[in-house]
């Protein structure tokens, strides 16, 4: 059903206008942050149905269950895995590998964060790494700011590399039928260069801060990372299941499996392995705990957004916007790709990149006829992924991981302020987008 068919909402109002008004109001409320984003999205979705833009069956069709299943599955796997202590182990191991030298620690913790972010979601990664980072910087008697700053960047850069690294990639992969391998082959190659191009200025900016006394370094070196492993059996099970899930993603296409199936099956398998030795009551507590760790606010936010965006798609707004964009770029693929890359990056710094990507996905899909078919859209998908994920580094509110790190910093008595962060982060983000532009142009255009 497209715009022309969805011409009337209740009272004979024009569905396009109703949907556009609801879409604008929903996004305005989300951006104002006066109301929880899940509430805003669900209200917007409910109104799309109540005002007749969509019926319930159409609304359910708009929900991308592949994205939701993948997110939930990975959240459950991480919730169980984290109990083993493996992430603290990795952070301490990294600090000791750097001989507890401040710059080495910053580099190693950032590298660990980037790798973990590629395999887990960014928020989870920083939730696991930041407390250990704060402990290490406290023991080293150094300011935590440069370390936290680098972790923010590393999380967003690392998350760009894979299908499962950042929610925008999950949405793009699901909507454009791009596999885990597609992301690895197309986005991961540029990530090390962006990481290096980010770390070098960080060193230059804070190089005078990277000193610590021998006594302080000895305290960090005396950490016993093996003691951080609280459950060796759970660690083995978790790593085995995580490896199976990654393998599943790699071979998803020949196996004709969707990522959500793989992630949810992996979650169920890990729940089984964790709970087999326990009696029913303990199993119930463990399963309840694992499910409670799922970020339901994010999940319901997605549900609402998918419906709101499906509403404007069905009402014909997306098609109109796509036509406008193609006209503005004169149907030039290079210009369109660059507009999407830079536009996504700049907008992701100020608005939540999830609703932005949710809107851009159908918009890009609608451009297929103008560019000669869906297969010609590949550069646009990679431009959107790079722009939306890396753009989150531009401001303190650009990505959820940034806000989580800022929250920790505040509670630890080392607040990260918006403007000082912006002054360093925004130029660094522009550098990463400039590198991405050259990459996209060189490789696809």
């Amino acid at each position: 059903m497209h715009g022309a068919q969805a011409s009337a909402a209740i009272f004979g109002w024009d569905a396009l206008w109703v949907a556009t008004a609801l879409f604008g109001a929903t996004y305005a409320v989300i951006m104002s942050e006066k109301v929880n984003r899940a509430i805003a999205a669900l209200l917007g979705a409910g109104l799309m149905i109540l005002l007749g833009v969509l019926d319930q069956q159409a609304a359910v069709r708009g929900i991308d269950f592949n994205t939701l299943g993948l997110l939930i599955g990975m959240m459950v796997i991480v919730a169980i895995t984290r109990k083993s202590g493996v992430f603290q182990y990795l952070a301490i191991w990294a600090a000791k590998k750097a001989d507890a030298r401040p710059w080495g620690i910053l580099l190693m913790l950032s590298a660990v964060t980037a790798v973990l972010s590629a395999l887990l979601d960014n928020v989870t990664t920083v939730l696991l790494i930041v407390p250990v980072t704060l402990l290490i910087t406290e023991e080293l008697e150094v300011k935590p700011y440069p370390y936290l700053f680098s972790i923010v960047f590393a999380a967003n850069i690392g998350g760009t590399a894979t299908l499962i690294g950042d929610p925008p990639n999950i949405m793009i992969g699901s909507a454009a039928n791009l596999s885990f391998n597609d992301f690895v082959f197309n986005l991961a190659p540029i990530i090390p260069l962006i990481f290096a191009a980010t770390m070098a200025p960080i060193y230059l900016i804070w190089r005078n801060e990277f000193t610590a006394s021998d006594a302080a370094r000895q305290r960090v070196l005396s950490f016993n990372e093996r003691e951080a492993i609280s459950d060796a059996r759970l660690l083995r099970q978790s790593l085995a299941v995580l490896a199976l899930v990654i393998l599943g993603f790699v071979f998803a296409r020949p196996l004709h499996l969707e990522p959500a199936t793989i992630a949810l099956f992996g979650a169920a398998l890990l729940l089984l392995l964790e709970n087999l030795p326990h009696h029913a009551e303990q199993q119930s507590g463990n399963v309840h705990g694992a499910f409670a760790d799922v970020e339901w606010v994010t999940i319901f936010f997605f549900v609402g957004l998918f419906i709101v965006v499906y509403g404007i798609e069905q009402a014909g707004l997306i098609e109109l916007m796509a036509d406008q964009l193609v006209t503005a770029t004169r149907g030039d693929l290079t210009l369109t790709a660059m507009a999407i890359l830079w536009g996504s990056a700049l907008l992701s710094g100020v608005v939540d990149n999830i609703p932005f990507v949710a809107t851009m996905i159908p918009l890009i899909k609608s451009m297929a006829p103008a560019f000669g078919g869906p297969e010609q859209l590949t550069p646009l998908w990679w431009s959107l992924a790079l722009g939306a994920c890396l753009g989150g580094n531009g401001t303190l509110i650009g990505a959820s991981a940034n806000l989580v790190v800022a929250g920790y910093a505040e509670r630890a008595g080392h607040p990260i302020r918006f403007v000082p962060f912006l002054l360093v982060a925004f130029p660094l983000m522009l550098v990463s987008i400039a590198i991405s532009s050259v990459y996209v142009y060189w490789r696809y255009l």
């Binding site: 603290q88 407390p131 704060l134 402990l135 305290r219 509670r411 630890a412």
Partner: protein, 153 residues
């Protein structure tokens, strides 16, 4: 029976300008886990507690919301902790007191007082809501002693 009838009306109290070292001395001498802090006019300002002191000694990363839940990998360093204790000993307790502790009003019923004691596990300040003055302190010992005397009577 109300909080006022069984509270200790002459509790040990600290002044906001007292040092942490002085507070530790008072708490050790009287074997108290928490002490009310008042200003010159006996207005209740908050509580200084052993739990708060433990928080000062521990790394911040472990006492934050969603912080580290396990420090077994950190080597034992009593000398480092001793230095830390000395370092904070000279600081004012005003900088480290809990200024929103649980407290009860003098006319609070015994059951309500018991519930607060059960939930917080420490002595409660009894504070007059209107004047903000510290009326006394009530501990689980006071409640049990009060109930026992009633039973005997």
């Amino acid at each position: 029976m109300t909080a006022a009838t069984i509270m200790n009306a002459h509790p040990v109290a600290l002044q906001a300008g007292d040092t942490v070292a002085h507070a530790i001395g008072v708490m050790l001498e009287h074997r108290l886990s928490n002490v009310p802090v008042v200003d010159a006019g006996k207005h209740f300002l908050g509580q200084f507690s052993m739990r708060g002191l433990m928080r000062l000694l521990l790394p911040r990363a472990a006492t934050l919301d969603e912080g580290l839940v396990d420090l077994s990998f950190v080597a034992d360093a009593p000398e480092h902790l001793r230095q830390r204790l000395q370092q904070i000993g000279g600081e004012k307790i005003a900088d480290h007191l809990d200024d929103t502790p649980a407290c009860v009003e003098p006319d609070a019923h015994l059951t309500e007082t018991l519930l607060h004691l059960y939930r917080h596990g420490e002595s409660l300040a009894v504070v007059d809501k209107t004047s903000g003055a510290l009326a006394g302190v009530i501990s689980p010992w006071d409640v049990v002693a009060g109930l026992s005397q009633r039973g005997q009577a």
